[in-house]
Amino acid sequence: MEVRGARAIGRVRRVNGPVVEAAGVDDARMLELVRVGEAALVGEVIKLSGDRAIIQVYEDTTGVRPGEPVVGTGMPLSVELGPGLVGTIYDGIQRPLEALRATGGDFIGRGMSAPALDRGKRWHFTPSLAVGADVAPGDILGTVPETARVEHRVLAPPDVSGRLSWMAAEGEYGVEDAVAVVETASGERRVAMMQRWPIRTPRPAGRRLPATVPLVTGQRVVDTLFPLARGGTVAIPGGFGTGKTMTQHAVAKWCDADLIVYVGCGERGNEMTDVLTEFPKLVDPRTGRSLMERTILIANTSNMPVSAREASVYTGAALAEYYRDMGYHVAVMADSTSRWAEALRELSGRMEEMPAEQGFPAYLATRIASFYERAGSMETLGGGEGSVSIIGAVSPPGGDFSEPVTQHTRRFVRAFWALDRQLANARHYPSISWLDSYSEYADEVRPWWEERVGPEWTADRAEMVGLLRKEVRLLQVAKLVGSDALPDSQRFVIEVCSLFKDAFLRQDAFDEVDRYTSPEKQARMLALVLLYWRRGSLAIKKGATFVELRRLKAVRDIVSARYAIAEGDSKAFDRVAARLERAIDDLEGDYGR
């Protein structure tokens, strides 16, 4: 990370889209950040050979000519870390988009730049250590209220340890001002609130911790059937329009992470606008604060330069790790990792590398693996605990999951929320398939659930999963002979599953009550469906018919519970359950006991 200062390192020899070849290069470093041409476009050295350097340029190269200068900065492509990140929207290489608009207008031009962290802004710094204290990497030197809900912890950088020889007094400071000086083995190190970190290097942490606490998303199909753990990884594959982005948005809004890093990677401009306009208005059910106060946005939309798209997921990962190191639980959404992989493919093609499957470079799998590796629940260097969870959307061509990006991703994630075209077409949202999805965290988070909502949860969940499996077989038969031909006991299985889909699995992202469901409410809703199942099956044994059971008015109460019963209103659940029991009692009464 040492800065060798700006120096000319060569001149442009060839321009082929975002890939520029420089000649006369004898002093460039691999992965060094460079400025290309008269417009000083941001680029990165990705290959060196003889006196040639291949540079990936993060901006539109229109107009760049051979012979133009290439200037090295001496630094790798890095992010600025410090207070001011939260609530901000950046592009893929951390240029603040609001600032760019303020200076450059509504359209993004070439060579525009602005510092990621506002240099003029003063932050209120409160020291946490006193002069003379021993300082190790990751120790908290002081704190800054970054937003009303995020306390920014200024950490000793990973390469700084020694004795604290000076500490700033509590007060207002800019991000570049020194707030501490540490006497290290190799001399004094001045520490400011702002630090830099190369985006492609994972930040160091202590040991990995087991993933036993779920990242509660408030999305029922996820939390109950296919849970994600804090520090876990999940992929959301699905064809166009099946609901990847909506699912990502829902999780970003309602999950119980401390911080969200939302990376819009090669997707629509309007979707970022949607987040930008909606998040500030939404209130976090846990803290009562605006959701924007815990969100960092990275927007590299589909029409923005493709190499910055490649960088955007790393930028996101680096920011997430930084807050993890402060002891926070961070969730990263990457929408869509397929666009990122395609950026790799495009750049690789322009460099005339040998392709492997479907034109993707042979290193596709390792890149995907190393991205998801940046997730994890960790002991931080400072001795605390933090986590990065990664939720990656995958956009398989033609919706076919056998393509390389989906297949490789599957190898490296532990949960898979497969979106189903049929469900999406029937407007069953979220269209997460209960048949093709899985989560390896389900077992690990079970104790947490039992403790939180009660020991019956495990058996309830297992029973429901069993019914859904049974339904598949019954539906196959029904397809051939008509459901009429099935005995009532079997038709009732189909009916209960259909009820479960309508009353539980479906969740309306736009309904103010339905959009978020706490674990407690999820458990109650599940229990309600199972009550109907258990009592109903007995009633059928006693002679009641399937048609009578489905006509019960109480069934509508189960369907509407998701939006009609508010969080915490457990009495309402008691009432619905009691009414259902009574209705079935009556039905059974008709048949004599």
Binding site: G17, V64, R65, G67, G239, G241, E346, G359, H428, G482
Partner: protein, 478 residues
């Protein structure tokens, strides 16, 4: 700074004056020129043939020893020694002005109607620049198209990009023209314009649209950019960019609401494939280049609204799906970029349904923010969801009927069949000049649901049922 600008202008002038006699190589749409002065990436080049006729092209790859350019107007009859190359020192630009409305241009933006080139108010790079995501305004205004399948189920929003996925011989042109004719905001008119870009379609398609605009008396609000089937195929790569550059001027500089109709995107993609193949690039699917997604996004993302500016660009691209295959890269990648799609269905058309808008795969993603209370009607979102859900069961029942015979169907299943019939024949079907208002559309939707028992309707509330649902028997012959 001023000195810099002067030096730049001088350099451009000098460079533009320079001419290179002789081409190194011609390969399909590409020409290779050796040993030039430093030429900029994406710079405009004019290749002058032996007869002195110039053809425009664009630099795709530039280096010290070789420049590769694609020639928009084709390389036919060019010779290696006899051709000259002139570099313009800047990318292809187009001059835009309100005076382009009512006029017809070729695929590169030059008048095609015999009139003089209109005096431009602004001149910009046809490649455009990405809108800063923070500058966008989220589109929410409901456009009534008068077509139930769209207004009721796949609502069009002002500033949306909503393509029509069609197939050869299906009435996509009729539908697009009907939308263009009937589209209006509920609270009346603000200044609107239509920009029409034809890429590789036949003369009669262009004429059909022209006539349709003429008949509805809006031709003076329309700018046509035509690169037709007998025009050089590579020109198609520029045509939508020229059209969108003009649209951006009309919308974001002049504050107009612009509807951009682009047809046929499949021809555009094929031209792109042609170039990619000539360059020897590694293809991804079906020979299309790996950057097809990004390239299409460069076009489709040039739509929407910008904060603080009054205008909007609504895109209605039309594409024919090769073999009616929605998973083909052209519709697939389009669907991944646009905000939904209107899918036309051949079997529905065969059954006499117009417009044959497929019930399930069609989608409008911006619908959610533009319908409901205060915009259309309070029950609209749930009604639409219920229609989708119920219609999705129809297909299962039809499949079952095909196996066991219609007579063997359970009564409930039979009602689903009746519902499906009504939905397609009465709700979706309408005349080519029928302009239904949203109330009528919603009414018909409820009439369709009246064919199903209330306990089947789980997407609507009990209040909805009380307010709108009336149980009905299927009419004979419906």
């Amino acid at each position: 700074m001023a000195a810099d600008a002067r030096a730049e202008a001088l350099r451009r002038e000098l460079a533009a004056g320079r001419e290179y006699l002789g081409l190194e190589r011609i390969d399909g749409p590409l020409v290779f020129i050796k040993r030039t002065h430093p030429v900029g990436y994406r710079e405009l080049v004019e290749i002058v043939d032996a007869e002195g006729r110039g053809r425009l092209g664009m630099v795709l790859d530039t280096s010290e020893d070789m420049v590769v350019a694609q020639v928009f107007e084709g390389t036919q009859a060019l010779t290696l020694p006899g051709s000259k190359a002139r570099f313009r020192g800047e990318p292809l630009t187009v001059g835009a002005t309100r005076r382009m409305l009512g006029r017809t241009f070729d695929g590169l933006g030059r008048p095609r109607d015999g009139g003089p080139a209109p005096l431009a108010d602004s001149r910009s790079d046809v490649n455009g620049r990405p809108v800063n995501p923070v500058a966008r305004e989220y589109p929410r205004d409901f456009i009534q198209t008068g077509i139930s399948a769209i207004d009721g189920m796949n609502t069009l929003i002002r500033g949306q990009k909503l393509p029509i996925f069609s197939g050869n011989g299906l009435p996509h042109n009729e539908l697009a023209a009907q939308i263009a004719r009937q589209a209006r905001l509920r609270d009346g008119g603000s200044e609107f314009a239509v920009v029409f870009a034809a890429m590789g379609v036949k003369h009669d398609v262009a004429r059909f649209f022209e006539r349709s605009f003429e008949e509805s008396g809006v031709l003076d609000k329309v700018a046509l950019f035509l690169s037709l089937a007998d025009d050089p195929s590579i020109e198609r790569i520029v045509t939508p960019r020229v059209a969108l550059t003009v649209a951006e001027h009309l919308a974001f500089d002049l504050g107009m609401h612009v509807l951009v109709v682009m047809t046929d995107m499949a021809n555009y993609c094929e031209a792109l494939r042609e170039i990619s193949t000539a360059r020897g690039e590694i293809p991804s699917r079906k020979g299309f280049p790996g950057y097809l997604y990004s390239d299409l996004a460069e076009l489709y993302e040039r739509s929407g609204m910008i904060r603080g500016r009054p205008g909007s660009i609504t895109q209605l691209p039309i594409l024919t799906m090769p073999n009616d295959d929605i998973s083909h890269p052209i519709p697939d990648l389009t669907g991944y970029i646009t905000e939904g799609q209107i899918v036309l269905d051949r079997s529905m058309y065969g059954r006499g349904v117009y417009p044959p808008v497929a019930g399930l795969p069609s989608l409008s993603r911006l619908m959610k923010d533009g319908i409901g209370e205060g915009m259309t009607r309070e029950d609209h979102p749930r009604l639409a969801a219920q229609l989708f859900a119920s219609y999705s069961k129809v297909k299962d029942v039809r499949d079952l009927a095909a196996v066991i015979g219609e007579d063997e169907l359970a009564p409930l299943d039979r009602r689903y069949l009746e519902f499906g019939e009504f939905f397609e024949k009465r709700f979706v079907t309408q005349a080519r000049d029928e302009d239904r208002d949203i109330e009528r559309t919603l009414e018909l939707g409820w009439e369709a649901l009246g064919l199903l028992p209330a306990d089947e309707l789980r997407r609507v509330t009990e209040d909805d049922i009380a307010a709108h649902w009336v149980e009905r028997e299927a009419e004979e012959g419906a």
